[in-house]
């Protein structure tokens, strides 16, 4: 790690001030990506501003037909929450399968979505569930929020405060993990609300995307067999030593079918 200054503000306002004042500041949520990045000397921030002392950002609550999760809520808390398990069990299951238990105790939903790693799990849930990302200054739809590989619509000093998930009728997430890192090679989140279905894919592309053809098929018949024969084009999909674009394209259909089947 390069040297940096460390601050742990206790309020959102203080965090805003700190990031605005820093020469090249970096906000840190759980640090599960940032700290390894710093260790490898791949980033050199002047200041690391730790959001973990802002207690108002760590919460889970249900507001009518919406589940609201504070940005600094760790994955383990989401996974274990009876509120989440009742409202959107697929979301609890997704959170309970991110990284490993020790990582889930530190990693947060806010950190995950702001980093927007193409292999992260949460972005698919946000997009498929039609979630809204609330920041210190505005609200963004999930699809507006995720703009590209490791990129979001956030301004440099903007801080995510919570994510609101409309509660679906049914939802499920199916992930094919990288055999080495356990990140998603392909993860597909399927959500059914009324007559509509949304299918969001992570891991496969530069950033999370919706599988529109699958959504159309599922709107007609919400069943795994409705996805038979639907192929995702390989163009633009990620390719690495673990999974070629062709393999990922194939896995999207397999995982989507498994997610639909898991919806019951």
């Amino acid at each position: 790690m390069y040297e940096f200054s460390y601050q742990a503000p206790t309020s959102l306002a203080a965090a805003n001030a700190a990031i605005a004042a820093a020469e090249d500041g970096k906000l840190m949520a759980g640090g599960m990506t940032l700290i390894p990045t710093l260790k490898q000397r791949l980033a050199r921030p002047s200041d690391v501003i730790d959001l973990s002392k802002i207690t108002e950002l760590k919460s889970i609550r249900r507001e009518g037909n919406t589940l609201v999760i504070g940005a600094m809520t760790p994955h383990a808390m989401v996974a274990d929450s009876s509120v989440v398990k009742e409202a959107i069990p697929a979301l609890a299951a997704l959170a309970g399968n991110i990284g490993d238990p020790a990582v889930r105790n530190r990693g947060t939903i806010g950190g995950s979505i702001c980093n927007n790693d193409p292999a992260a799990d949460y972005p698919s849930a946000l997009v498929a569930l039609g979630a809204t990302v609330k920041t210190d200054r505005r609200s963004l739809s999930a699809e507006e929020f995720f703009t590209g590989m490791f990129e979001t619509a956030l301004e440099l000093d903007e801080i995510v405060t919570s994510v609101s998930f409309p509660i679906p009728e049914k939802a499920a997430y199916a992930k094919f993990p990288n055999p080495a890192s356990r990140y998603a090679v392909v993860g597909v989140f399927v959500a059914k609300t009324g007559g509509a279905a949304k299918v969001a894919v992570t891991g496969a592309g530069a950033s999370v995307f919706r599988a529109i053809e699958m959504e159309t098929a599922l709107a007609k018949s919400f069943s795994a067999t409705a996805l038979d024969g639907i192929k995702t084009p390989e163009d633009g999909l990620n390719s690495d030593i673990h999974a070629s674009a062709a393999y990922r394209a194939h896995l999207i259909t397999v995982m989507a079918k498994r997610a639909v089947a898991a919806c019951g």
Binding site: R41, A180, S181, H242, A243, V254
Partner: protein, 794 residues
């Protein structure tokens, strides 16, 4: 003896208390007063010429004491890292042995090649300063793939070319003649994938030079401290042994990768004297990937000739082995002496010929990794045997039985140099088949098919040559040193015992197993025995631990030393009991006059030996402290049969091991709990090689693509099943314990068993061979590209 534990008991380990409470002392846990930290700056290129190195800014950076390059070491007369084994090509010429300096001077030859060392108050400061060093690299094209090394027009790693040696073993004419009359010939091209050993403790080293005495101490993560002292002292730093102490304290796993003398050991020892302060270096995992010797990496073509009854007539093998950019300490021996000599396996194949070309590439050096040559031989042999079974329609178990060396044929001389002393391959095959419910497989396969899963079963038998090594044989085969072992058994005045062994335990539990041997030999409780290893100042000498040699060679030395202790004790007892020495029996910890109830306990004799007021001082020296050296007469030959059962998900290509059975013959077993643990660990690594692990380089740039656990696929708890293990015993006939060795068996038997099962599962698709690792992506692609036969046609 009552509560004295005896050989064969699952005694709980003496070493566990410290490991379970965080009190172990691994090298990085040691801190010396005034210690500085070293950071090794490594090449980012696979092949480049170094124009200049400007380290002025780094030297001036905060906290920095010194920056050294290869030129500083050369100016000080530092020598290259030596190779311990010399192989001759078939034309009689010695292998090409390029220089291997601890820090390079003019050319880097693999990504990670050490270029400079920065020494500072903290590791962070050293790393900060390393970024200030400016190196003018002229990047050159690299040769990376094993199969490219000897292709004309490819870049050369050394001026002499990329061939290290062109070696052969066996009777080529006899093989050709046998093939000419074969009823069936099976041919196979296969790759043995390159692996990274990955002990969980990364390597570390501390050099500590004492200005007052001129003594040097090296603390290092080594499997054989005496060999490091010999090689580094005599060849690299030119330090006499009496001024150089090497300590290998608790070591967190090795699997071969910590046998060798590494550059960093020489660098910190030398640098400590330059800066007159202790210097510590600890690798992080990424650095371990770039600097630990790697394993395997063979590309082979094999042909097996069979007669009409399925009897093997001859085996012909051509192998290219990738040694990386430099010769690691034992590298030349692995694809030759420890590989081709094992190609008879468990079979009576009368004619075998193997030709091995060892090549240099711009990759990290390759040396022994758990099994070392023997897994490569076994994988090749057991794959081609299974393929022959499939081609001839003979059941794989039956084909093996038809060719096994008969139970009454020992000692058995193979056509590839080895002489097996004992074994019973029929027994282990039957045990494994029974435990695996081999007969019930078709029903399980049918049930799996009904669920849409492809189920397969595969077996492998193996033999290894362990107990390395009979010195005369090793010497004849190119070893530059004999490979005997040493033990000192020091009896203290009140009868407790310290055992000093030249082997080294880094997970194997020697402190317990060796204590069991001594407890049995001297009839004293295990609590009164301490086993000491890993310090050249304490132990007379030793060749360390590798090749499943510790108990067979080191344990035998312990037995010899115990025998000497008892022999002397008998003399003392004869004096005290006023009896003839010939009448003294030693049993159950007592020296007794035969046929009487007159006796002296072991402790009484020990006391008499040290506090001799009634002692035959004129004829016998006081004291009870004996040293023994043991040089085995032959290798030992553990053997066994492993059976894997797998289920493949055709939608994803994911293979799940649903059952794994091992039936092994390790000779006499001292501690069955420890032996089972060794099998489990070896099998896990073997499954890792078969399904998950592969060290991948970019074929053009030579960059290591699997340089961390993000990409190098380490088996985790949820990747593996529980294992079903059993043993059958035939005793080793030539060492006093009858032991054969167990450390490598799993890594040898598992890869072919798993791959045979995977290929068996894919039989409906007409797939006859897959190279390891059988990753989900690879299997999915194969399944997608092949049309399955109708199941009914099976």
């Amino acid at each position: 003896m009552g509560d004295v534990p005896s050989i064969g008991s699952p005694v709980r380990r003496k070493e566990d208390m410290r490991f379970l409470t965080g009190q172990g002392t691994y090298t990085d846990d040691i801190n010396r007063p005034g210690q500085l930290y070293a950071y090794v700056l490594r090449s980012p290129h696979a092949h480049a010429a170094i124009g200049s190195i400007d380290s002025a800014a780094a030297k001036a950076a905060p906290g920095v004491t010194a920056v050294f390059t290869g030129h500083d070491m050369v100016a000080d007369g530092v020598g290259g890292l030596p190779c311990g084994w010399q192989i001759h090509s078939k034309d009689g010429s010695p292998m090409v042995e390029p220089p291997h300096m601890p820090l390079v001077t003019d050319t880097v030859r693999h990504v990670g090649d050490p270029v400079a060392v920065i020494i500072a108050d903290t590791r962070e400061q050293a790393e900060d300063a390393a970024e200030l060093i400016e190196i003018d690299y002229r990047v050159l094209p690299a040769v990376v793939a094993t199969t490219d090394a000897l292709t004309s027009g490819k870049p050369k790693v050394w001026d002499t070319g990329n061939l290290c040696y062109d070696w052969e073993i066996g009777d080529r004419a006899a093989v050709d003649a046998a093939f000419a009359k074969a009823a069936h010939v099976t041919k196979l091209d296969l790759v043995n994938n390159r692996l990274v050993a990955n002990p969980m403790e990364p390597r570390a080293a501390i050099g500590d030079y004492d200005r007052g005495t001129g003594d040097y101490t090296l603390y290092t993560t080594s499997q054989n401290p005496h060999v490091i002292r010999l090689l580094m002292g005599a060849y690299v730093l030119h330090l006499p042994e009496h001024k150089l102490r090497v300590v290998a304290p608790d070591v967190g796993g090795g699997f071969g990768s910590k046998i060798y003398h590494y550059a960093e050991e020489a660098i910190v020892t030398w640098a400590s004297a330059k800066v007159k302060r202790p210097v510590k270096w600890t690798a992080d995992r990424s650095e371990a990937f770039l600097s630990d010797a790697q394993g395997r990496d063979h590309v082979s073509h094999a042909e097996l000739a069979l007669d009409a009854d399925g009897k093997f007539l001859a085996l012909r093998v051509e192998t290219t082995a990738n040694l990386g950019a430099y010769l690691s300490t034992f590298a030349p021996a692995i694809p030759t002496i420890l590989y081709a000599t094992l190609l008879a396996g468990t079979y009576t194949t009368p004619a075998i010929h193997c030709a091995v070309k060892a090549v240099f590439t711009h990759t990290i050096p390759v040396d022994a990794y758990r099994g070392a040559g023997r897994p490569e031989a076994t994988y090749l042999l057991e794959r081609i045997v299974d393929m022959a079974a499939a081609e001839t329609g003979i059941d794989p178990g039956e084909l093996r039985r038809r060719n096994f060396i008969p139970r009454d044929a020992y000692p058995y001389q193979t056509p590839v140099a080895l002489n097996y002393d004992s074994g019973d391959y029929f027994a282990t095959l039957s045990m494994a088949q029974e435990a695996a419910d081999y007969a019930g497989f078709p029903a399980r396969q049918a049930a799996a098919r009904a669920k849409g899963k492809l189920r397969g079963i595969g077996m492998a038998t193996y033999i290894e040559a362990c107990g390395i090594a009979p010195s005369a044989v090793a010497g004849a085969l190119g070893a530059r040193a004999g490979l005997y072992e040493t033990a000192e058994v020091r009896v203290h005045p009140t009868g407790s015992v310290t055992v000093f062994t030249g082997t080294h335990s880094h997970g194997q539990g020697h402190e317990t197993t060796f204590a069991q041997v001594v407890a049995d030999g001297l009839g004293i409780p295990i609590e009164q025995i301490e086993v000491v290893h890993g310090d050249t100042d304490k132990i007379p000498f030793g060749m360390g631990t590798y090749g499943s040699r510790s108990l067979a060679v080191g344990g035998s030395a312990v037995v010899k030393a115990i025998d000497k202790v008892v022999a002397k004790g008998r003399k003392i007892a004869a004096h005290l009991l006023e009896a003839a020495e010939a009448d003294i029996e030693f049993r159950d910890g007592k020296f007794q006059v035969a046929g009487t109830d007159r006796s002296k306990s072991f402790a009484e004799i020990a006391l008499a030996a040290y506090v001799p007021h009634n002692y035959p001082i004129e004829t016998l020296e006081p004291g009870l402290d004996e040293t023994a050296f043991y040089d085995p007469k032959n290798f030992t030959y553990p053997s066994g049969c492993h059976i894997a059962e797998v289920e493949i998900d055709p939608d994803t290509g994911v293979t799940k091991i649903v059952k794994f059975t091992a039936a092994d013959d390790f000779g006499r077993i001292i501690n069955p709990m420890i032996v089972e643990g060794q099998v489990h660990g070896g099998v896990a690594q073997g499954i890792g090689q078969a399904l998950m692990e592969s060290c991948v380089y970019d074929p053009v740039s030579g960059q290591l693509l699997t340089g961390s656990y993000m990409d190098y696929c380490m088996p985790r708890a949820d990747d593996l099943p529980s294992f079903d293990v059993a043993t059958n015993t035939t005793l080793c006939t030539h060492n006093p314990l009858g032991v054969k060795g167990c450390g490598e068996a799993g890594a040898i038997g598992a890869p072919p068993a798993v791959m045979n099962a995977v290929i068996n599962a894919l039989k409906p698709y007409g797939i006859t061979h897959i190279d390891m690792p059988a990753t989900p992506q690879k299997l999915w692609r194969l399944i997608a590209d092949h049309t399955p036969f109708p199941v009914a046609a099976e």
